[in-house]
């Protein structure tokens, strides 16, 4: 009974981790319903009924099944309907959660090739320092960090009872990895949750000097171009390009990648 004090800890942990109920499981009937919609959408896609496929995929996303693969399929359907902007939008949304998917990257590159505007990607210090971030998803980074977090605690725990040189160096190594991964996770989280990128959805749109119809036309953008949205105001959105061009667009001309609506 020397370690009887551990008993309340175990009780606390058991209360914090309600494992069985943590993952939102569909009830059996609901699960079957969305699977049927998914299969039907795929069937429509194969039969060339792309509009029906798009509607079905959008329905799935609206009902909470916003899986990256559904966004990918939606992108394919938009692409087949010659909606390049919406296809790129869906592909980009899928890319957030599965950045290394070969099919997705191929289709996204193919779609980007057809975009009229040549907009160079912006390269800042952080994007160069954390160059691996575009290739890992947020959840992958989180689990890496969680494992390193656990390893760090285990090392510290062992060190409470047993002190040795190799343990010290192990602890240093784990600590470094823990710091890098933690910073990466923070950066990734900021990228995902503060993503102001938007995709132009109209074939050609004029970017104005101000949020009014009569303002001077500064330049034109074409479907599929990716811009950064700065703010929105009265049905207009102020956008920025990597080369510091700025201007106003009607809000129906573009859609944020981070927006969850299909």
């Amino acid at each position: 009974m020397k370690y009887r004090f551990l008993l309340p800890i175990i009780c606390v942990l058991a209360a914090v981790f309600p494992m069985s109920s943590a993952f939102g499981q569909d009830d059996h009937q609901g699960g079957r319903a969305w699977e049927e919609i998914f299969y039907k959408a795929n069937q429509d896609y194969r039969e060339g009924k792309f509009q029906e496929a798009v509607e079905a995929y959008q329905q799935l996303i609206r009902t909470g099944h916003d899986a990256p693969r559904i966004q990918y399929n939606l992108g394919n359907a938009w692409f087949r309907m010659n909606q390049l902007g919406r296809a790129i939008l869906a592909y980009e949304r899928a890319h957030v959660d599965m950045p290394r998917d070969a099919d997705l990257n191929f289709n996204l590159a193919h779609a980007r090739d057809q975009v009229v505007d040549a907009i160079p990607p912006s390269k800042g210090f952080f994007s160069m320092a954390f160059f691996w971030l575009p290739n890992v998803s947020q959840s992958e980074l989180f689990w890496c960090f969680a494992i390193l977090n656990l390893l760090l605690c285990v090392a510290l725990l062992i060190r409470l009872f047993h002190r040795s040189e190799w343990l010290f160096y192990c602890l240093l190594l784990v600590l470094c990895l823990w710091l890098v991964t933690g910073l990466s996770l923070g950066m990734k989280w900021a990228q995902v949750h503060d993503d102001h990128r938007a995709v132009i959805l109209q074939k050609e749109v004029e970017v104005l000097a101000g949020p009014h119809e009569g303002d001077t036309i500064l330049f034109k953008l074409h479907e599929g171009a990716i811009v950064a949205q700065e703010r929105s105001e009265g049905g207009w959105r102020l956008i920025r390009l990597p080369d510091r061009k700025r201007g106003w667009l009607p809000e129906e001309a573009l859609e944020l990648i981070a927006s969850s609506s299909p």
Partner: protein, 590 residues
């Protein structure tokens, strides 16, 4: 001796490495001038390349208006860049019988049973002495234009003839300088004998092509030739310096500049009538030819389309033709090849353009005709030339059967096709995902809900530290609780001792044991035995006064002596003394 051997070795190596060129037999006919008088003797040369001897002498057509004298033949051998060339030259001298324009040639020659024919040359024969009747000196220069009226960018022959009756050297030429005309030398200077106004001259002829750049009436200024003239001296008895060996080098000469007469040229603009819409400014006569390297090709294979523009005139203006885009037919343009040649007839040239065509779908493709327009100054009309439409039949791609052959060591099959880069034929997106695996919602761990606001994430991250903190805290608490137990036991040690001593009447042995337990409890020790000598040290180390410690030692020594002397059944006054001393120790330690 060694050097001679090396020389012969080098010579033999050179001869052995010479590769005879197995070229086809070609025949060229040359006249030493294009214009002559009835008094002139014209040299005709038939040059055969590719054979050192012929089956029979050449047969030359068009020699009826001339008296022909055979000048002999000479075979020649040339080694250029290690390649062996051979040929034979036949020379004839022509004496015109009448004036007129005559076509000389072609010359036909039979080599190894096969007859080859040469080109045709034109010779204009005029009556002798048609120039000004004035007497000219021993050196004079004449200039002549091919025509007095020309069109913009038309090539006009401009011939300078230096007539000589004396020896000259150091000849230099200054061409007329004018912004409206450009001069280009057409041939190497020619030298021949001619009769001018009944006097025989040695003639040095230089031909240029003149190209006017804009319309208008122009005066071509005289051309000037600078030279050194050596006067003819009376023959004297041959002295040392008249020896031909010295070549007259020591004779004195005088510098002389001779000028030609100025000439007039009228340059006409291009007529606007029937001018083609896309006229590129070509002047002369041009042709266009198109061809495909094959009329049938498989999907993915390439075929070469060649278009060749050639002609005589301002060939520098030959345009770069563009291949029109064709559906399902990728085109890769090659660098155009441009060649020019200046000859007696003027400037000729060609431009060859090539495209690699790669079809990506089977079917019949029609290559549309390529067109060029030019102005023909002789006919004074515009001309248009087109290539014929070319048909390319594209067959389905070949299905290749994979054959596995046993690999033999060091076997190299020369017929084995070389590896080539994979060609992309089409572009399209990849198909949709059809499996439901990976489509389930990740719940609390999906990217959208993951973040600082997600308690579950925090729980996962904080839990290990929570455990660590609790373990650490537990250890600290555990340590503290042990200390508290000991302190409590220490505080209670005197009370327990006094209580036990009052309850039981202990003998000497029991009292010694009780004192030992008291000291163990009081000072958190675990002594198995306690001697009176050890006690003062222990007590003084814990802060007990030395007198008190000595008193306890004395009492304990008394008890010990009782044990060893058989009086252990009673403690005597020691029991009471010990109680007082313990109380004293507690006071001192408090």
């Amino acid at each position: 001796m060694k050097k001679i051997a090396c020389f012969f070795l080098f010579l033999s190596t050179l001869l052995l490495t010479v590769q005879p060129v197995k070229a086809e037999v070609s025949v060229t006919l040359n006249l030493d001038r294009r214009e002559a008088t009835l008094a002139d003797s014209i040299e005709l040369q038939v040059r055969v390349s590719g054979a050192r001897r012929s089956d029979a002498p050449p047969v030359i057509k068009g020699l009826e208006p001339f008296h022909v004298t055979k000048g002999g033949n000479a075979s020649r051998v040339e080694i250029i860049n290690g390649r062996y060339h051979s040929g034979v030259d036949y020379t004839y001298y022509l004496q015109p019988k009448r004036k007129g324009v005559f076509q000389v040639g072609p010359a036909g020659i039979k080599v190894d049973g096969k007859t080859s024919k040469s080109n045709v040359a034109t010779l204009k024969v005029a009556a002798g002495g048609e120039a000004s009747g004035s007497e000219k000196g021993p050196v004079f220069l004449t200039a002549a234009l091919g025509t007095q009226k020309a069109y913009v960018e038309q090539q006009i022959p401009y011939t300078l003839k230096l007539h000589l009756r004396t020896n000259v050297s150091d000849i230099s030429l200054d061409l007329p300088e004018t912004d409206e005309l450009t001069f280009r030398q057409l041939e190497k200077p020619k030298e021949y004998q001619a009769v001018y106004q009944g006097t025989a001259y040695r003639v040095l002829e230089v031909s240029y092509g003149v190209m006017p750049l804009k319309p208008g009436r122009f005066r071509i200024p005289p051309a000037r030739m600078g030279l050194t003239v050596y006067s003819a001296r009376k023959r004297t008895p041959r002295g040392l310096f008249d020896d031909p060996f010295f070549g007259g080098a020591l004779r004195s000469g005088r510098p002389l500049t001779v000028s030609s007469e100025p000439l007039a040229l009228e340059v006409l603009p291009f007529p606007e009538k029937e001018k083609p819409k896309y006229f590129s400014g070509l002047v002369g006569r041009f042709t266009i030819e198109g061809s495909l390297s094959g009329s049938e090709v498989h999907v993915g294979d390439s075929v070469t389309l060649t278009v060749r523009l050639s002609g005589k005139g301002n060939v520098n203006r030959l345009p770069d033709l563009k291949m029109p885009p064709l559906d399902h037919l990728k085109t890769y343009a090659d660098e155009p090849v441009f060649q020019t040649r200046a000859g007696a007839d003027g400037l000729t040239g060609s431009k060859t353009m090539k495209w690699a065509l790669v079809p990506d779908r089977e079917g019949n493709y029609t290559i549309p005709p390529f067109t060029i327009s030019y102005f023909d100054p002789e006919a004074e009309t515009y001309g248009t030339r087109k290539t014929k439409p070319l048909i390319l039949k594209v067959l389905p791609g070949e299905t290749q059967t994979l054959v596995t052959a046993p690999k033999t060591e060091k076997s190299k099959d020369p017929l084995k096709p070389a590896k080539q880069a994979v060609k992309e034929i089409g572009h399209d997106i990849l198909p949709i995902y059809t499996s439901i695996s990976g489509l389930r919602d990740d719940g609390w761990l999906s990217s959208k809900v993951m973040g600082p606001g997600n308690l579950f994430c925090w729980a996962i991250l904080v839990a290990p530290f929570l455990v660590l903190g609790m373990v650490f805290l537990g250890l600290r608490l555990n340590k503290k609780s042990d200390q508290a137990i000991y302190a409590q036991r220490a505080r209670k040690a005197a009370h327990v001792f006094l209580k036990e001593c009052r309850r039981d009447h202990k003998d000497a042995n029991g009292m010694m044991t009780a004192v030992r337990d008291y000291i163990n409890d009081r000072f958190e020790l675990s002594l198995g035995s306690l001697t009176p000598a050890d006690v003062p040290k222990l007590l003084m180390a814990e802060g007990v006064h030395p007198d008190t410690a000595d008193r306890l030692r004395n009492v304990l020594e008394e008890l010990e002596s009782r044990i060893y002397t058989g009086g252990e059944a009673t403690c005597g006054s020691a029991s009471r003394d010990i109680l007082e001393i313990i109380k004293q120790i507690e006071k001192e330690l408090r």
